[in-house]
């Protein structure tokens, strides 16, 4: 029982019951209080495994604290505090419960010390993510929630099969060590984690979920979904060469879509995919500095993208629909504080010096500065510039575009502004004083992010990219902001594959109907024949072949009964 209270993830899970019963005014403090209590439990405990128990012959280690899960745990619990503050203005207790369940599941998964508990907690977090989307009142949210449920159901199935194969090969469940992708169990677990991080072909769930979730839900999903997958990869597959290519593909695909997507929350989700790709590729590198960079980038990306999604969520709250670049003109007059926060959030995701992402971006560049990893270094170096032009400049130039008749909207609710501002504050505070973050990393890191030979190239990169981005816009080379929806891989399974499924269903139903008709006709014919034969039994002495056969059969049966032994 003592062990149950030790895993910090159980605190948000227990708080779910309080939130479901609490009045509206107490729900946000309850969520924030649960996060603070969980943080206290986390920071109060020493490294190492706590008490273990056995269930069905398998060891269950409910708490195993080390430097790797501590940095992710601190990030997720701080994120929960921001979400709690951000959620103060709305009334959906089920959404609060879903957020706490998702956070509790994710944090529990970080700190458990055995594979089965990890899979159970991660699956709980996945189901809660789908519940969070179902809670949204935006158009088509129910269908998006259903799709997310399918993705996480598939992920859970892969996890279960992987764990079953892994344990059946004689491995210890209580040892959370490196797994091998080449084994069947390891391969299935790897595939499940690919879904969780949003690897190419499985990346569509994130933008689908974030763009259909409520403003609060979008912020929570941004912080607590993909980064659990990054932790899983860092724990089970460090130094896996496949991850280098997968991470690079995530960077390219994320940057490509972020440049063109009109719905800004989707664009933000694609940008998060690109930054997650940086973490994945660094884990694939596997060197101590690269692992530290991956963990640091995951930490800072959580707050940078929370700040972006929180600010965009404030726009969604007032507009009542998606925050589109094409519909953002005049926003600075209607929502001046939100527009100002958008500038900060945009700079934060672009890894501008002084913001948190810059502090870990420089570590990532240092970790990959080798001739053999030249292509990865270039992708990581170019990503902030792409995000500056695709997201920050697009948003700021659209929001500050004056209109003759600006839209009539109120500024976002105070709690939303406070939450978004707090996320930006975290970005700036970590960005200006990154040493405490470096101190949290598993590898001892003495790094000066503001050394002139690191600061100058970043300023140069962003400055030149920004100048060219503005020039392209002024000279009309950039595409104009028009309403547009882009096709992604989900168009395949929601379009042709869904149609093929529907057609195959219709065909199967028709085949089944034809089979039923045929079997009914055959049964009818057999019944008629039997009925005719039986009716002839009523007249056994009539002169016919049938009566002769009947008498012969009856005589034969009687003879057998009388004489056969």
């Amino acid at each position: 029982m003592l062990a149950l209270t030790l895993n910090p993830g159980f605190v948000p899970l227990l708080a779910v019951f309080l939130v479901l019963a609490a009045p509206r005014g107490l729900r946000a403090p309850t969520m924030a209080g649960a996060a603070v209590l969980a943080l206290w439990l986390l920071l109060d405990h020493e490294f190492g495994a706590a008490s273990a128990m056995a269930q069905m012959g398998l060891p269950v280690v409910l708490l195993n604290l080390d430097a790797l899960n501590r940095i992710f745990g601190i990030a997720l619990l701080l994120a929960l505090i921001i979400v709690a503050i951000y959620s103060g203005a709305r009334r959906n207790r089920y959404e609060d419960a879903a957020i706490l369940t998702m956070c509790g599941g994710a944090v529990s998964a970080l700190f458990v010390g055995d594979l089965i508990s990890f899979v159970a907690s991660a699956s709980l977090a996945g189901l809660a993510a789908a519940w969070l989307v179902f809670c949204s009142t935006l158009e088509d949210a129910n269908r998006a929630g259903g799709r997310l449920l399918i993705w996480h159901g598939l992920e859970g199935l892969l996890f279960l099969v992987g764990v079953a194969f892994h344990l059946s090969s004689g491995a210890q469940s209580a040892v959370l060590g490196r797994l091998d992708v080449a084994t069947i169990g390891g391969g299935f677990i790897f595939a499940a984690l690919m879904i969780r991080v949003g690897a190419p072909l499985a990346h569509v769930w994130l933008k689908d979920a974030v763009s259909h979730a409520s403003p609060v839900g979008g912020v929570a999903l941004t912080a607590m979904t993909t980064m659990l997958g990054v932790y899983g990869l860092a724990r089970f597959f460090p130094g896996e060469p496949l991850l280098l290519a997968i991470g690079a593909a995530m960077i390219v695909i994320g940057a490509f879509y972020a440049a063109a997507e009109d719905d800004l929350r989707r664009a933000g989700a694609y940008a998060l995919m690109a930054q997650t790709g940086v973490c994945v590729a660094l884990i694939g590198d596997g060197a101590p500095l690269a692992m530290a960079a991956a963990e640091g980038t995951a930490f800072t990306a959580i707050f940078a993208f929370m700040a972006l999604q929180a600010t965009l969520g404030a726009v969604v709250e007032r507009v009542g629909a998606a925050a589109r670049v094409s519909a953002l003109a005049g926003l600075s007059r209607a929502m001046p504080i939100t527009s100002f926060l958008l500038i900060g959030a945009g700079l934060a995701v672009s890894a501008a010096p002084g913001f948190a992402l810059y502090a870990t971006h420089t570590v990532a560049l240092q970790a990959t500065a080798e001739w053999e990893k030249l292509w990865l270094w270039t992708l990581i170096a170019a990503l902030p510039a792409v995000l500056l032009v695709s997201l920050t400049l697009r948003i700021v130039l659209a929001a500050y575009r004056p209109l003759a008749r600006p839209p009539r909207m109120n500024e976002a609710p105070y709690s939303m502004l406070l939450g978004a501002g707090l996320a930006s504050f975290f970005c700036i505070s970590v960005g200006l004083a990154p040493r405490w973050l470096y101190g949290l990393m598993p590898a001892e890191l003495s790094f000066d992010a503001f050394a002139i030979d690191r600061l100058a190239p970043q300023l140069e990169l962003l400055g030149v990219a920004g100048l060219l981005g503005v020039a392209f816009r002024v000279f009309g080379l950039s595409p104009k902001a028009n309403f547009a929806q882009l096709l992604d891989i989900d168009a395949l399974y929601r379009g042709p594959l869904a149609s093929a499924g529907r057609w195959s269903g219709v065909l199967l139903l028709r085949a089944y109907g034809a089979w039923q008709e045929l079997s009914r006709g055959v049964a009818r014919a057999i019944a008629a024949a039997v009925e005719g034969w039986i009716s002839r039994c009523d007249r056994p002495y009539a002169t016919s072949i049938a009566s002769f056969v009947q008498i012969a059969v009856i005589s034969g049966v009687l003879g057998l009964m009388l004489f056969a032994r």
């Binding site: 440049a259 001739w371 270039t378 695709s390 003759a404 990219a465 920004g466 096709l487």
Partner: protein, 91 residues
């Protein structure tokens, strides 16, 4: 005679953005060439290389946006013409 209100100019905003970016680029390039040592692991990491990467990233962003809108834009569904679509128009 009434005049339709004209949208205000955006030149001030663009000017501020250009100013910020120009200052960042100039300071970055200046310090990069003045302080950083040469002989890095490839030409992109040499002084001035970040500017080239930034320019490439800006071009990539524009090309990616154009290509995505050209190839991947979802076509709006064609309006369905129903028989008697104007039924009830006279009610």
């Amino acid at each position: 005679m009434s005049k339709r209100p004209q949208p205000p100019s955006q030149s001030g905003l663009v000017g501020v953005a250009i100013l910020f970016c120009f200052v960042a680029a100039a300071v970055g390039l200046g310090f990069d060439f003045a302080v950083r040592a040469r002989g890095n692991f490839w030409i992109g990491a040499e002084p001035g290389g970040a500017a080239a990467i930034g320019a490439g990233a800006a071009v990539f962003s524009v090309l990616a946006a154009r290509a995505a809108l050209l190839i991947l834009r979802r076509r709006p569904p064609a309006p369905i013409e129903e028989e008697g679509g104007d039924a009830g128009a006279h009610s």
